[in-house]
């Protein structure tokens, strides 16, 4: 039976690249902007990360607001505050509109409070406009232990280790469907490695539980199998590690995300051809693809 359109979560990729933006001919298919994803359902709009991809999102939101189709209320969830995940915020046009309300959520476990980290990015030494000059109603809220409810969407979260400085993964549920955003975590250290510790065992268990049965998992798969051995400890997962964890947990659709800046469209196409057919037929059956900018899915 066809699921009513209004029950589906619309997931759009505005930036899929990791570490640094990579404009140019060889990256135009998968995109060169750093992480930014939106999830929308019944008028509630959630933004995941504020990489350079948030600039194009901001332009679209302002266009929508001017056309009177959508009031500007934005909920921005940060996985962490590394550069590639916050760098687009000073260029997010709705932040300069006084009628806009932007709520920014993030980890409560930062050494410095989230607000101060974001303000420092807009210090005069780095950017000509200070955060206090932004005219939108901007609120910064650290996540609490309780689940958050925004419209029909329930948001759960967990801290992730195994990334320098840590990161947060989020799970968004609405109408019985689940989207998990779990980027910037070195799964290879959790699931393999010579020394199995209690910490790793616990991390593996909580990760698998969190992503279990997800209709869509957006996950860090930055390095190829061949590249990973020379990048141990960098805080990012190899493609086989994320595919293996997702297939064990009954994930239905996996979007490989946070592409390495060195990976061209052709390189990612070749990886897609290599892995996709193995899982499409199953078992376990899993729809696997490499996230690309400008793509909207219904979940």
């Amino acid at each position: 039976m066809k699921t009513p359109v209004e029950e589906k979560m619309l997931v759009t990729f505005w930036g899929t690249r990791g570490s640094i933006s990579t404009p140019g001919r060889t990256t135009e298919k998968y995109g060169g902007n750093t992480p930014c994803v939106t999830i929308e359902n019944q008028g509630t709009r959630i933004v995941l990360d504020a990489g350079t991809g948030i600039r194009n999102l901001g332009i679209e939101l302002v266009r929508e607001a001017e056309a009177g189709t959508q009031l500007l209320g934005v909920h921005l969830f940060l996985s962490h505050t590394h550069w590639d995940h916050i760098q687009g915020l000073p260029f997010f046009q709705p932040a300069y509109l006084k009628d806009t309300k932007v709520t920014i959520y993030g980890s409560p476990k930062k050494e410095r409070f989230l607000a101060s980290v974001l303000k420092r990015q807009m210090d005069y030494e780095y950017f000509p406009v200070s955060m206090s000059a932004l005219t939108a109603d901007i609120r910064i809220q650290e996540m609490s232990e309780e689940n958050l409810h925004l419209g029909p969407i329930t948001i759960e979260w967990e801290e992730q280790g195994f990334h320098p400085g840590g990161s947060v993964r989020y799970r968004f549920s609405a109408h019985g469907r689940k989207v998990v955003y779990a980027t910037d975590v070195e799964l290879d250290l959790i699931f393999s490695g010579d020394h199995r510790t209690k910490e790793k065992e616990a991390a593996a268990r909580t990760y698998l539980d969190f992503i279990a049965g997800a209709d869509l998992l957006i996950a860090d798969g930055m390095f190829s199998e061949e590249e990973y051995p020379s990048r141990v400890g960098w805080g990012h997962a190899s493609i086989p590690a994320v595919i293996d964890a997702a297939s064990k947990s009954g994930v239905k659709q996996l979007a490989i995300f946070h592409h390495d800046p060195q990976h061209s469209d052709k390189y990612l196409d070749d990886l897609w051809v290599k892995y996709r057919s193995r899982y499409l037929a199953g078992p376990p059956k899993m729809d696997l693809f490499w996230a690309r900018e400008g793509l909207t899915l219904a979940v």
Binding site: K2, V5, L10, T12, E28, K29, D265, W272, R276, L280, D287, F289, E293, G294, L295, T296, L297, A298
Partner: protein, 134 residues
């Protein structure tokens, strides 16, 4: 390389390289953007359809710009439009969906060689940008 230049100069009798006025380059700057859908698997409509600035509706209905008389295609199945100088495809809430490179999409910016699938009919997207002379 200088040896080759020497030979040319000697043969043609040039002493210096003459500068080209900038204006001659400016005449050639305008770009024309052309995009095409190469349709296969529809029998009657197989061929190349050129996209323009106007949105194009694909479906089974006779009102569609690209009419695909295939049972798995919805009456108004998808729309291809130009947005911010990029072509994108949108699913018009069809029964069997729009697939781009095997992924079911609601909307997707199109890139060269993207393989669109609509009810079993394949549409390959290609675009080119050409300088056009005045």
């Amino acid at each position: 390389m200088s040896g080759k230049n020497e030979i040319l100069r000697d043969r043609n009798g040039f002493d210096t390289t003459e500068e080209i006025p900038r204006g001659q380059f400016a005449d050639m700057l305008p770009l024309s953007q052309r995009a095409y859908l190469e349709i296969t698997g529809s029998r009657e409509k197989d061929g190349i359809f050129e996209l323009g600035e106007k949105a194009v509706v694909v479906g089974r209905s006779t009102e569609c710009d690209i009419q695909l008389e295939v049972q798995n295609v919805s009456r108004k199945h998808a729309r291809v439009l130009l947005h911010n100088e990029e072509y994108l495809i949108e699913d018009l809430d069809s029964t069997n969906g729009v697939f781009v490179n095997g992924i079911r999409v609601v909307r997707c910016v199109l890139r060269n060689n993207d393989q669109i699938e609509i009810g079993g009919v394949k549409l390959m997207f290609n675009e080119e940008k050409r300088l056009h002379k005045k």
